[in-house]
């Protein structure tokens, strides 16, 4: 059980599996005997729009919302959405970002986005080619969030044990996709 709450925001694009990822983290937090509250959004935003979900875990959690500047970690499944989340970040907030970009008309060039993230975050930025690795090794893009979560546990970016996350995956993911998700988690170095 954690003494201080851990405040996490996950950002990405609708369809990237944010809600499943949130469920895994929630279960892992419970396995480690934390209190947990999370908040998710459904609806039109799912259709390829920006999506943001919150979760908090620790000894005692009151509000399910992470307010501006309160996040310990922002998990970005898309670089532009990570850049958008700079508006939610405090001076301590770390960013673990999937080196993946779903661009659209009149959006920014990727180099500019990475530059903005680097300039704003410095050593608090961790960019990992999760999508590339998952597509190459597992022929599946949608598990890149799970890969990132594995990475976060192995690099102490999230106060959850790798084993707890694995147990949570076994609990949350349907049998049909379980092996794929476990592989994605195990890929993370």
């Amino acid at each position: 059980m954690l003494k201080d709450n851990f405040n996490l925001i996950i950002v990405g694009v609708g369809g990237q599996g944010l809600i499943t990822l949130l469920s895994i983290i929630n279960e892992a937090a419970i396995i480690e005997r934390n209190d947990v509250r999370s908040s998710e959004l459904h609806g039109l935003s799912q259709r390829g729009g920006s999506v943001e979900t919150h979760t908090k875990f620790g000894y005692k959690v009151y509000s399910p919302l992470v307010y501006n500047g309160q996040a310990d970690l922002i998990l970005g499944l898309d670089v532009l959405e990570a850049m958008r989340a700079l508006n939610r970040a405090g001076e301590q907030t770390k960013f673990l970002v999937n080196d993946y970009y779903s661009p659209f008309q009149n959006s920014l060039p990727k180099e500019e986005i990475i530059k903005a993230l680097q300039e704003n975050l410095g050593e608090r930025l961790f960019v990992v080619p999760a999508s590339e690795i998952c597509v190459k090794e597992l022929q599946s893009e949608v598990v890149s969030g799970v890969y990132l979560l594995g990475y976060a546990t192995k690099h102490n970016l999230i106060p959850l044990k790798f084993e707890s996350v694995m147990a949570a995956v076994e609990k949350v993911i349907p049998q049909k996709y379980l092996e794929l998700n476990k592989k994605a988690l195990n890929l993370a170095k």
């Binding site: 501006n68 309160q70 508006n87 920014l108």
Partner: protein, 557 residues
Amino acid sequence: MKKILLGNEAIVEAALACGVDFVSGYPGCPAAEIGDIFGKIAKENGVYAEWSTNEKVGLEAAIGASFSGLKSLVNMKSFGINVASDSLMPLVYTGTKAPMVIVVADDPSCWSSAQSEQNSRAYAYLARIPMLEPADPQECYDFTKLAFEISEKFNIPVILRTVTRANHQKMIVEYQPHSAKASRGVGVFVKNPQQFGTMPPRVLEQKQELIEKLEKVKKFADNKLNIITKSKKPNSVGIITSGVTHLHTLETLEIMGLDLSILKMGMFYPLADAKIKSFIKNLKKVLIVEELDGYLEKEVTAIAKDTNPKLEIFGKRGAPWALPEIRELDAEKIGVALAKITGKKFTANKIKPVAVPRRYPKLCPGCPHAFTFAALKRVAPDAIYGGDIGCYMLAGYPPNDVQDFVFDMGASMGISHGISKATNPASAQGFGRARQKVISLIGDATFFHSGISGLINAVYNKSNPLYIILDNRITAMTGHQTNPGVGKTLMNEDTVLLKPEDIAVACGVKNVKVLDPINVKELEETIKDFMNKDEVSVIVCRRICALLEKRIKKAQE
């Protein structure tokens, strides 16, 4: 039992624990999972569940069930209660026979709502209906049970007014696993026209009965729902909270190291004025923390006039740091206000704003709407475009840009007619060509929900819009719910399949064409042809939602 539950899942669990027999409603975010879940589990639990054509019909179905002695749960999003309100008003007068709980899910910050930032608490005043406000999934469970209890005891419908952050919040919920009923409850209708109608002179007697009932509800529920948590040491500052704002407030107090008394109002209506009186009697300052309109603040201001005229009341009014009436609240916004009131420090995080281009939601790959939007832009770039509620609202975003107005469910039909009449007076006499042609888009479910009366009106009044019904064989935006055009009920039973083109013909439309929008040439030719008609015309663009098609194929594999 302890398990992590979504607010909506907790509502379902509680309804099952109370032995609900009859579930109706219309899918809308953030309430839709309630009906979705019942669709999957109703049969095995001895429950009847349906998606109704719209919220009004959904409420009426539950009224019929209640009058026949069955326990009912009605579910809808905020705007649903606007549609249902016509039947809600007399229902509160007649009262229920078997208990009924109506879930109305508001969406402060409009995360998935396009028409207004509605505060449905106002309906409590308008209808004089008891209204409970849960803060989280645990309270979604506890309050749903209490709502059934109140409804059963006093024969009155009860609204469970939720917000997105309660419906879509997850936490560990403690609850009693329900036991499945052996078989579906069978109602018996016992005639009692004196009770089940509001014909004068009964209507005013019933109003009197209602007023008396509400006093009893207040007495019964006050201590169960309106909770005072006293500060450890006496303090002259107090806080009144409601719903999810209570959680943010507790967090703020912990961050600031403040020890203040809190009155949490779990029941918005009937208002426990005596409880508020006792809470504010000895305070110097009180902060009212509520989202959107300051209804409680106004009530407290009125109560304080007699009880504690010197009391300083803070909430939505006055100071620039006052709580905003727009958007949901969080611990930071409350912290800023509390710092001003108590003189204690709360450091709001300084955020250096970074400009990022907006990512518009977009049509899914293979979406049939894309073909229609593109054809319209090519063939009729200058038409006036009406929009309606559904995935096809994306017509309003770039690069589609074929939506000049959008309102509420079905409204495109009536507004398009009004524009046609206003801009093309010649058509009223039945000659001349439209100077500005109105082309209006509506989905299958929205057409069934409340488009049909608009269509009838346009035909009857000799109007000339071109109505395009985008029939993707499902209610897509809210998560693929069935509707009268699908041929399946919520409980997955086969049923009659209603066709919008048949309805259009029955409504007197002479120009009706059904086509697959991927046949671009046919679509474009038909648009061109119907553009020149001086009467109402209807094109049904029929092609299954691309996501649904993919899912069906996957399931068959």
